[in-house]
Subunit: 190 residues, 2 copies
Amino acid sequence: MEAFNNYLKQFPKYTPKVFEMVLPYLTEQTIELGDFFLPQGKICRSIAYIETGLLRLYYLNDGKEVTNCFCKENTITTSYSSLITNRESEIAIQAIEDSKLIILPYVALQELYEKDLFWQQLGRLAAESEFVTTECHHRFLRDQSATERYRQILENENDLLQRVPLNYIASYLQIAPETLSRIRKKIART
Amino acid sequence: MEAFNNYLKQFPKYTPKVFEMVLPYLTEQTIELGDFFLPQGKICRSIAYIETGLLRLYYLNDGKEVTNCFCKENTITTSYSSLITNRESEIAIQAIEDSKLIILPYVALQELYEKDLFWQQLGRLAAESEFVTTECHHRFLRDQSATERYRQILENENDLLQRVPLNYIASYLQIAPETLSRIRKKIART
């Protein structure tokens, strides 16, 4: 649990008290590569802090999986819309490495919101960051060519390229796996 | 200013004190049809409560205006990403009716965040709602045909159709104005 405590320390207004408040609600969960933290169509009722491992969020578009994002160790993952609206999740969350998660139920977070400004603030910062990330990703897909998109993750998220199977990278860039192969070969030649 | 006070009353934890706290920071602004609350490329530094009127948010895609959303009386508008990240706004906010706004500077909101749980909570709820609205709109554009999209706003937002020029409706549905004309004629015949 200490990793989650360290994660909380980066937020303003942290005091050891806030970790004591949340500790009784936390549980650990280990999931294996290929397992789901959340299958598509279920209502998401918790937030996962990823202590170790890697997960991907994806949705189905015309029966084809489209990867929204990758979430790695020392970050939080959840199906945000489903969590907030209490509706079935369009998004599935799947481990693509064996992962160790620390789970906080949403009902507990809502209790915490009432108890300390720290948690309201964390909720606000998380929502803001989720919004900005989603908007950036839409813009990235809309404004950049397939090659530019690949170059960008090559420059900024090279560690992901080492860890994620290429078919998931292709679905994240919203290009066919064959197109990704062609782009990779072209870039390797230059 | 009383309209803004009434707007705040809908949120949990409202007390008359929260309105007294925000009042010194508020200013009124009247903008005419066609004027900008925020031109594209400027950093957004405030939030507007729309007391009367109607505005649209749009961005440029390959030089063409794409309308993101319409904001009418008794709602809040801002360029959310620009506000939070302090970067130049990709989005422009333009009045499409003469409008009366009540302006709250973001620096003031940040001060209020420190003073009362109400404001942190309002910030969180606003961010959450912004996220869900944006995601819904992306899904709406992705999953529905042009005709379905038009039918949906015909059913759910008929008042907008009465108030908004059709070229903006077309750009909101991301279809050509001629396509919208054809759809409207087809639906009128059925």
